[in-house]
């Protein structure tokens, strides 16, 4: 029985060390720190732009293949490239950008295919959760399954964006009518 207690102690130590390291030291893993900083910069920039504006949301495909300077020049509106990395789930991205969307803004969503497929367990333990664990644990605690309230709001925003009257809506762009 003593050996069993010792094993349980090792298991408890492992879990405690994992949570402590994630919360206090490593920001699981270290590279998420740079993603967090990048997102903070993008969100601060989005917050500073006047409306109407163009907001690109997606993964690294958006970040590395879309140029806001060209969009801005062609469309005559400010633009923020919100593309980050494919590992970030839609819940997190929509929750981050939604407060800065205003009536008349256009949201362009050339999402990565994998972003539609992120499972709930992966979402609650992946980069989103790692970042939120340090940055906004309340939002993480409020997170629900993809069918939960936060996802429902996100889905609603997506549907609104995709069903907008914009001619570009068929390619994934739309106007955040309700924002």
């Amino acid at each position: 029985m003593r050996s069993l207690l010792s094993l349980i102690g090792a298991i408890a130590l492992s879990l405690a060390a994992y949570f402590a390291a994630s919360a206090l030291l490593l920001n699981k893993p270290v590279t998420y720190d740079s993603i967090t900083r990048m997102m903070d910069r993008k969100i601060a920039y989005a917050n500073s732009l006047p409306s109407p504006k163009l907001v690109l949301i997606g993964g690294s495909g958006v970040r590395t293949s879309h140029r806001c300077d060209i969009f801005s020049a062609d469309l005559h509106m400010p633009c923020i490239n919100g593309g980050a990395t494919v590992g970030l789930g839609l819940n997190y991205l929509f929750a981050e950008y939604r407060p800065f969307l205003k009536a008349g803004d256009t949201v362009y969503l050339p999402l990565e295919y994998q972003q539609y497929l992120i499972t709930r367990p992966a979402m609650l333990t992946g980069p989103d959760a790692a970042i939120l664990f340090r940055k906004d644990w309340r939002q993480l605690a409020r997170s629900r399954s993809p069918a939960g309230p936060r996802q429902a709001r996100a889905n609603s925003a997506t549907r609104a964006a995709l069903s907008s009257r914009s001619p570009a809506s068929s390619t994934g762009a739309g106007r955040a009518a309700s924002a």
Binding site: S3, L4, S6, L7, A10, F19, I118, P121
Partner: protein
Amino acid sequence: MLFNSVAFLIYFLPAALALFYLAARLGGGEAARWTLIAASFFFYAYTLPWHLLLLVGSLLINFQAGRWIEAADGDRRWWLAAGFVALNLGLIAWFKYLNFLIGTVSVALGFDPHFLAIALPLAISFFTFQQIAYLVNAYRGQSLQPTISEYMSFVAFFPHLIAGPLVQHSDIIPQFRDPRTYRFDADRFTAGLTVFLLGLAKKVVLADQFGVYADVTFNGVARAVDPTLWEAWGGILAYTLQLYFDFSGYSDMAIGLGLMFGIVMPVNFNSPYKATSIIDFWNRWHMTLSRFLRDFLYIPLGGSRKGPLRRYVNLIITMLLGGLWHGAAWTFVLWGGLHGAYLCVNHGFRAVAKGVRGRAVTVAGWALTFLAVALAWIPFRAHDLSATGRILGGAFAAHGAALPTELLDKLPFLRLFGAPLGKLPLAADGTNLGFLSMWLLLAFGLALVWFAPNIKQMSEKTRRWMIAASFALVIQKVFFSGTISSFLYFRF
């Protein structure tokens, strides 16, 4: 059902353990064995239920065949044993090798092959060969004359049913006859649970990550992309480590599960990458298969009793068939043939250089053995012989040597080892950070297999620390990664 699946860990295992010890308490060993057999059948049928019919049919026929062989004598005994061994081999030939034969003959004759729609039953190589061993033992008069429940418990015991360790009935049946097996022992259970958790960590934390790297290289080569030097070696070393951690992790889990049910199973791995010769390697790698091949193939062929030339021929035949046992493909035959050739060279070297000893020789032997084993894993993993050739060419810089430009800009001395290239598509999905991570993890994995003690060698205290280091990562991978990977040896 996979040992690393939520269904197994949360539902099946606790239920099977509880029912086993409850049945033992209420109905004794016989009731516990039938409970275990029922649990094992459920475990086996979980993925493809109809294959259970094959397993049960095979168990019943071979059990009865053993009885008939024991009761017979003279020529009749020989014919019965030969007939039922042939029946078992025929079964495995039908399910595993028929399409291979059709493909090979069709190509040789210039026809379009018409393959039959035959699904390979899970674990057929394992449960068939264990039963062949039982029949041979019965023929030799070495059977322990098990009851039907003892026999089925020995073959179908779910911890070793799918991928070993390959056990003989004399290893297991005496334990099922021992009343102490059926009494719950907290220390024995804890020892089993510890070994199981460490094996699970090997699989889900280490093997699966190395598997990601290996897949990028080998799958890329299968799409006819030629690997450069570091891409090829990244893939080769990643697979070398993946296979070891995957299979030895599975074996540790099986041994741990066995202990949780009161059954001690033979060790299957003993730090094989520390081997200082190929002979030594085969005494450390998949030890129960080595024992099986030695006892039921190499020695009956004559072993080393008929002169050195015959010994080499026997070695080659044994290893070729050992390769074919792993899978019906020429790549496995090549792998077996390579190891047969290695063993011949090793035995030949020992014969002519008996007095050559010393630390330098040991270190050189270890390095050469590891290199030879790693290169032989190429055909074992590659999609076909053409892909084998391309990776082998890459490993010897036939397609050039390149390193990520970004890395060379920061560490210019590395230009000695490769030309700058923007991305290396066959290494870690072509990301530069991934390339670095891959080589750091490969270095960590190699350090583990070369210098760390294996689970059997660890003290209880060390095992606890290993649990503390790995358990949370296991939880993350099993419950939250969203993917459960199969074991490499399940396909054999």
